[in-house]
């Protein structure tokens, strides 16, 4: 299939250099790769590395072996007569190919073959991209104050995994105090927060550290004038801060609905083409690639426009999959109770006549975040970038306990005899990431770093 992807720059060079192997691939795989290359400027470095590695790997596979690897896919493509599709743009081809496969009830079989193909090549790609000495990572998930945490049910989806470590919260009176201590983000002169240290260390980039939160306490903390260097040292998404942007997206979608759409597919295509950007200041790192990421999260994640914690989880899962940050912090909050019938009122613009007060749902929020934080862990463990290399920490503000799971040793271990301070937790993260801890705000927790 002679596609015309209209690639430029490095993506064009990559496609040119690997043209021979691309042409040997089944059309759907060929189109999938070119379609990703079309998005090159919107790909995170980890995604670009993957594409390079994929093409280089496939180029080294002998033609006969490649034919064998892709035989199942080619057979289904032939059965679906995909060669009759004359579309030359790879993304449009993908849409038409999927429709044809659906029509002929071949999607499941095609997906199976695609999975089989990647299962065969992934081990080689993963060992190349994520060798044993690849950087370690931290995923910290935090339940914000206000969530009605039930201690007896806390982190129940992860029962049997990791170690419950007692904490002492002496001197902690608010969420801000808690977060300051946890990330050593006091803003005092001479002290650098954990995020700043990660940024300064070994050519860290803003994409190496992400904070994703339902509200904006953490953003507020890191956005203080005294901590202004933080602003571009990490990538931050706050559902609350994105309110004007979410409203703008909803208005655009609503207006489209009012003017009429032929089908949900047409509506989705319209949504994909929207050019609306978050307001200045809404993102800690306003780079184009992050704007594009946020837009995708809000428009392609179910419920991300409407439910704060869903946004946090889906954005975190996508960040893990795409940007692969070395440090990921999620902070969940209290979700609003849905208004009666509001489950049916998508994209509705609230009016002054809508007088039903907003009521929070702290109990439901706990049920939600138990599941969502578990999903973030599940997705991270599916990624070779995180498997065996990650320290997972689960904390609930105001609760003198945390759950810690080392992905290389996920079973329970002996908790420390004395409760750890939040400074100790911070020192543990720094130690795990190989960062300096000049202020010595705490001591690494032995069972986790030993």
């Amino acid at each position: 299939m002679p596609f015309d992807a209209k690639l430029t720059g490095e993506a064009a060079s990559l496609a040119r250099a690997n043209d021979a192997v691309l042409r040997r691939l089944p059309a759907t795989v060929h189109a999938f790769i070119l379609s990703d290359l079309q998005k090159w400027p919107a790909l995170f470095p980890a995604e670009q590395r993957y594409q390079r590695a994929l093409l280089e790997h496939l180029s080294r596979v002998a033609p006969d072996e490649l034919r064998q690897l892709t035989g199942g896919i080619a057979r289904i493509e032939a059965e679906a007569a995909l060669d009759r599709i004359g579309e030359r743009d790879p993304t449009a081809f993908q849409d038409r190919a999927q429709a044809a496969l659906r029509k002929q009830n071949l999607v499941a079989g095609w997906r199976r073959e695609i999975d089989r193909f990647f299962q065969q090549i992934d081990p080689a790609l993963e060992s190349r991209l994520y060798p044993p000495d690849a950087p370690r990572r931290v995923v910290l998930q935090l339940y914000g104050s206000g969530i009605a945490v039930q201690p007896d049910k806390l982190w129940s989806r992860l029962a049997g995994a990791g170690t419950r470590i007692p904490l002492t919260l002496d001197g902690i009176r608010s969420s801000r105090d808690y977060l300051r201590a946890l990330f050593d983000a006091s803003g005092e002169s001479g002290r650098t927060s954990l995020f700043q240290r990660l940024r300064n260390h070994a050519d860290g980039a803003p994409h190496d550290a992400w904070i994703i939160e339902a509200h904006d306490v953490l953003h507020g903390l890191l956005d203080q004038p005294a901590a202004s260097p933080e602003t571009h040292s990490l990538t931050g998404l706050s559902y609350e801060r994105l309110l004007p942007y979410r409203d703008a997206l909803m208005r655009a979608l609503f207006s489209r609905i009012q003017s009429g759409v032929e089908s949900p597919q047409a509506f989705a295509a319209y949504a994909r083409g929207l050019k609306i950007a978050p307001e200045p200041g809404a993102l800690l790192n306003p780079a184009e690639i992050v704007q594009s990421f946020v837009r995708d999260v809000l428009l392609t994640g179910n419920g991300t426009l409407f439910v704060n914690n869903t946004f946090v989880e889906w954005a975190a899962v996508q960040a893990v999959r795409r940007a692969q940050p070395r440090m990921l912090v999620t902070r969940y909050g209290v979700r609003d109770r849905l208004k009666p019938f509001s489950s049916l009122v998508l994209f509705s613009r609230p009016r002054s006549s809508d007088r039903i007060p907003i009521v929070e749902d702290p109990v439901g929020s706990f049920v939600d975040v138990e599941q969502l934080s578990y999903y973030v862990w599940v997705h991270a463990e599916k990624s070779a970038a995180y498997r065996q290399k990650t320290l997972y920490l689960f904390l609930a503000e105001n609760l003198e306990q945390m759950l810690a799971i080392r992905s290389d040793r996920p079973g329970p271990s002996q908790p420390p005899a004395a409760p750890a301070s939040l400074g100790d937790v911070c020192a543990t993260m720094a130690h795990w990431l190989g960062l300096p801890d000049p202020a010595r705000s705490g001591r690494p927790i032995a069972p986790l770093v030993g």
């Binding site: 997906r111 991300t304 439910v307 869903t310 509705s348 613009r349 039903i356 939600d368 599941q371 969502l372």
Partner: protein
């Protein structure tokens, strides 16, 4: 007028609204002059719908979410804990498989009818029954074409009546505003406008325009009425979800027409797509309650009591936590998406029984056929032999 001033009044208004909706929409006995062989037995198929996982419902750890089914209905009936749906894991195709006994592969958003005959068409054609004998009452707005296939020998003349209660509500409002011929609902205009205000903008907005024209009202009146209606909707004693409205409409149809075959599509559970597990569980509990209340309602109607078989079945599951995308979706096609269950109750069903025999959701349609005494050749399913026909 304090139309919605108290709970009692709100319930009165709801009854009036139902009367209003039913009078406009429910067909008269158009086939009254025709002799038809109406069967003695009746069947109600309820989709415990929107997609539920086995682990969140019929598995031991899920019983807490289905207290009525687990402790009151299952002991009265027969449970098939090992049921499976084979086919595309969207709502239309999976429900299409239930009513045809065959896997369907049509547009997932309901722009195409099933491609094989439905139980409604086969039933009505063989027994020469009028349309009021077969109904689909659906919360899912895309089920408008669920009542019949496109086949030349079947199709519209033999299809079921399909009611989408939410859409019906809007159409009723439009009718109420545009005609003087409606029933005597006091302050009909006020009722209509209040409903419109609550439902107008983006009601189930995704790709669906609800009404083409509106009637201009004074701003003050509109605001006042809107406030009352929103309070009305906010009251826990009135329908606050699509499934409540579907349940309400189902009862109205049963009371007025006593059809032999009903398929009731509950769908609130699909709120799981919002990613809030607690809302998903809440919707499961609501569906459990509505199924129970529906069965109670069956017992109150002489036309239904002792002659009705109720089949309760999720049309599909949802993704597993590990292999798929979790409870929020049903796209992966993994086992969790396909593993469902079925509970049968009532006439011809052994009490307090269960069988581990694996069944498929395709088996529902031929089972309905066997109960109601019509032929269902060439489908993928087999009648559930544990039931007495």
């Amino acid at each position: 007028m304090a139309l919605f001033g108290s709970h009692a009044n709100r319930r009165d208004v709801l009854r009036l609204l139902a009367a209003c909706m039913a009078d406009w929409w429910l067909p008269r006995r158009a086939f009254a002059g025709r002799r038809a062989a109406k069967p003695d037995r009746k069947v109600i198929v309820v989709t415990f719908g929107g997609g539920v996982r086995y682990e969140d419902t019929l598995a031991r750890e899920g019983w807490i979410n289905i207290p009525h089914l687990a402790s009151e209905l299952v002991p009265q009936g027969l449970v098939y804990p090992v049921a499976r749906y084979e086919g595309l894991t969207g709502h239309f195709n999976s429900t299409g498989a239930l009513v045809t006994g065959c896997r369907q592969n049509v547009d997932a958003y309901g722009s195409e009818a099933p491609v094989t005959p439905t139980v409604f068409e086969l039933f009505r054609k063989e027994h020469a029954l009028p349309p009021e004998e077969a109904w689909v009452i659906a919360t899912n707005k895309s089920f408008g074409l669920m009542g019949g296939s496109k086949l030349r020998a079947f199709g519209d003349p033999f299809s079921a009546n399909v009611i989408l209660p939410k859409q019906l509500l809007i159409e009723t409002i439009k009718s109420a505003v545009s005609t003087e011929a409606g029933p005597g609902v006091e302050d009909r205009q006020a009722l209509a406008e209040q409903m419109m205000v609550a439902l107008d903008e983006g009601y189930e907005g995704f790709g669906w325009r609800v009404f083409e024209s509106g009637r201009a009202l004074g701003k003050d009146l509109k605001a006042t009425l809107a406030k009352s209606l929103l309070e009305y909707f906010n009251d826990p004693s009135v329908p606050t979800s699509g499934d409540e409205l579907t349940f309400f409409m189902t009862k109205e149809i049963m009371n007025r027409l006593a059809p032999s075959l009903l398929v009731v599509n509950f769908w609130d559970i699909d709120i799981a797509h919002y990613g809030a597990y607690s809302l998903y569980l809440e919707a499961i509990r609501r569906t459990d309650r509505l199924v129970y209340e529906l069965w109670q309602h069956v017992q109150t109607l002489p036309q239904y009591r002792d002659r009705t078989t109720l089949l309760v079945v999720p049309e599909l599951g949802r993704d597993s936590d590990v292999a798929g995308n979790g409870f929020a979706n049903h796209r992966s096609g993994d086992d969790s998406c396909r593993r469902v269950w079925l509970v049968a109750l009532g006439a011809g069903v052994p009490r307090g029984a269960g069988t581990e025999r694996p069944i498929r959701t395709f088996d529902v349609a031929p089972t309905v056929a066997r109960i109601l005494g019509f032929k269902m050749a060439d489908c993928e399913g087999q009648p559930l032999t544990e039931l007495a026909f």
